[in-house]
């Protein structure tokens, strides 16, 4: 697959001297769903804003569909639709006027059928002659999505699309994103909710303090970073972990009825079989065993913590 967006050594220093991006490299593949995950203030919006032409970069380069965003900005921007984080709408315009304006602005010739279709896709069709100020928050957000889609972009940026959005809309948003993605649109969304990245994305980029900590396919990331936890349910409760098993760093839970053992999937020896046979020779009877993979959340916390330790060490 070809990268549709290439970001090279991108830096941004705001006028007050703050370094919001410190040399980001990122390739975004055509047709993928990429989540940019990071805490508030990590630099997600800054990164997106530079790619979309709203903020000027301080250094580095970006190409979109092979077009440099500085030199060949017109071609680059034509490919992109942006749904910004903040709610910005033409309050006194009708839904129809605002959405068809966006199509014209992006140089696409008037096509009422297309506008109708986008509005229908977002369940806005019966509100098309309504002034935007009269719509609910969720509907306003859908108007913003409609504005971003009506010029038929190949790439869609969604900056924190589910901030302040109810469960119902969130669900229909994921559906819409998948549907768009199936039709070939590359999707980049930012979030600071790990569950969101986990639910929708194929690849996840983790941003912290203006640096891209890593980018991985979601499964690979979870596997690679994934500590697994083996939980053993016991027939008889234990008062304490026997001293002979101390090398396994077991933790006793469930009022002494479960033993939890953390191991690294990627380690050559996970120690599982040794643990199980030691349990048996201790005469500890097992009722059940299960394993659980770390969620992206734990992975993320680990990464950021490691980052902070690295910083402290410097």
């Amino acid at each position: 697959m070809q990268p549709i967006i290439s970001v090279r050594n991108l830096t941004k220093t705001y006028r007050n001297g703050f370094d919001a991006l410190k040399g980001v490299d990122l390739d975004i593949m055509e047709g993928e769903i990429l989540a940019l995950l990071g805490p508030n203030g990590a630099g997600k919006t800054t990164l997106i804003s530079i790619v979309c032409g709203i903020v000027n970069a301080s250094g580095g380069s970006v190409t979109v569909g092979g077009h440099d965003i500085a030199r060949d900005w017109r071609a680059a921007r034509s490919l992109i639709g942006l749904v910004p984080q903040e709610m910005h709408v033409d309050a006194f315009e009708t839904v129809w006027a605002s959405v068809s304006f966006s199509r014209g602005l992006f140089g696409k010739k008037r096509d009422d059928a297309k506008v109708e279709q986008v509005l229908s896709d977002l369940s806005l069709h019966d509100k098309r002659n309504e002034k935007i100020i009269n719509l609910s928050g969720g509907m306003k957000r859908r108007v913003m999505i409609a504005k971003a889609l009506v010029h038929e972009p190949r790439i869609l940026f969604l900056d924190e699309p589910t901030a302040g959005v109810d469960v119902e809309l969130r669900k229909s948003m994921w559906e819409l994103i998948r549907r768009l993605n199936r039709s070939g649109v590359t999707i980049i969304l930012t979030t600071h909710y790990i569950e969101e990245a986990e639910e929708i994305a194929e690849r996840v980029g983790v941003i912290n303090h203006g640096e891209l900590v890593l980018v991985e396919a979601k499964e690979a990331l979870m596997r690679k970073m994934g500590e697994k936890v083996l939980t053993v349910e016991l027939r008889e409760p234990l008062a304490a972990v026997p001293a002979t098993l101390s090398r396994y760093k077991l933790s006793l839970g469930g009022d002494g009825t479960t033993l939890a053992y953390s191991y690294d999937v990627n380690a050559g020896r996970t120690g599982i079989s040794a643990l199980l046979s030691d349990l048996r020779s201790e005469g500890i009877a097992m009722r059940d065993i299960s394993t659980r993979q770390n969620s992206l959340e734990q992975i993320f916390v680990n990464l950021v913590r490691r980052d902070a330790q690295k910083e402290a060490a410097q």
């Binding site: 979309c52 032409g53 000027n56 071609a75 942006l82 910004p84 006194f92 315009e93 992006f106 010739k109």
Partner: protein, 253 residues
């Protein structure tokens, strides 16, 4: 050139104008017409003719200029300030639209509105006072040049302003006095020599004088000066806007 975008912006702005019909069309025409009623019909009959023109008719060109200048600045500045204020500017910045295309769309719409207002006021004035237009082509040229120049000036103010107070600052403190003292209500011949000399530093005087000449062939300064003055101001605004967009000043972070 993204002509479709220019057209989209222009249409969007014109639609807003129609939607606020009473405030943006009826109100300026009505308030300017009150001058004709007061000065043309009521007081005008007691005033001497100026250069062979009745006072009521004499003030018409200046009043049209006054309204056009203030409206062009107001509309031109608001058109670009508003997206900045509510945040919808993100869309203008992320669109494949060049700064000059933005300017053509917004300033074009503002200038169209100003010209339309100017003509509406002229038509209204003709109901109250006798009007004659000696040089219609010059008249329209002054109308169009003034509308474009001050819409562009307004656009620059709209980009510069980062709050509503600043948006009003220059129109209220600088433009309003200049326009009021721009010779709409009198000929500079009527002033004492000192004030006559001072008034020649007022750029609006050149516009009013040239515009009035195209009606009655009565001018305070030579028509060539009037054209040069408006041309110079237009050029200054164009340079300013070029610099603003080159540097991304106050628009991009």
């Amino acid at each position: 050139m993204n002509l479709t975008a220019i057209h989209a912006i222009y249409r969007f702005e014109m639609a807003r104008w129609w939607r606020t019909f009473w405030q943006s069309i009826v109100s300026p025409v009505l308030s300017t017409s009150l001058y004709f009623v007061v000065f043309g019909a009521a007081i005008g009959s007691r005033m001497e003719d100026i250069g062979g023109v009745s006072y009521g008719a004499f003030i018409v060109p200046g009043l049209i200029m006054m309204t056009m200048i203030t409206q062009a600045i107001a509309v031109g500045s608001f058109g670009i300030y508003f997206p900045k204020f509510v945040g919808t500017i993100y869309e203008l910045l992320s669109a494949p639209v060049s700064p000059m295309e933005l300017v053509v769309g917004y300033v074009g719409a503002a200038a169209t509105k100003a010209v339309a207002l100017g003509l509406l006021i002229l038509a209204t004035a003709a109901l109250f006072v006798p009007i004659q237009i000696a040089h219609p082509v010059f008249m329209l040229a002054f109308l169009a040049l003034t509308a474009v120049t001050f819409s562009l000036f307004g656009f620059i103010i709209g980009i510069w302003a980062d709050n509503f107070e600043r948006l009003q600052l220059i129109p209220m403190l600088v433009v309003m006095p200049l326009v009021f003292l721009g010779g709409a209500f009198y000929s500079t011949d009527m002033l004492p020599p000192f004030w006559r000399a001072v008034s020649h530093f007022n750029p609006v005087l050149y516009l009013v004088s040239g515009f009035r000449w195209s009606f009655y062939e009565h001018a305070d300064v030579a028509v060539g000066f009037s054209l040069a003055a408006i041309g110079a101001f237009l050029a200054a605004c164009l340079v300013a806007i070029w610099v603003i967009f080159r540097t991304g000043w106050r628009i991009k972070k």
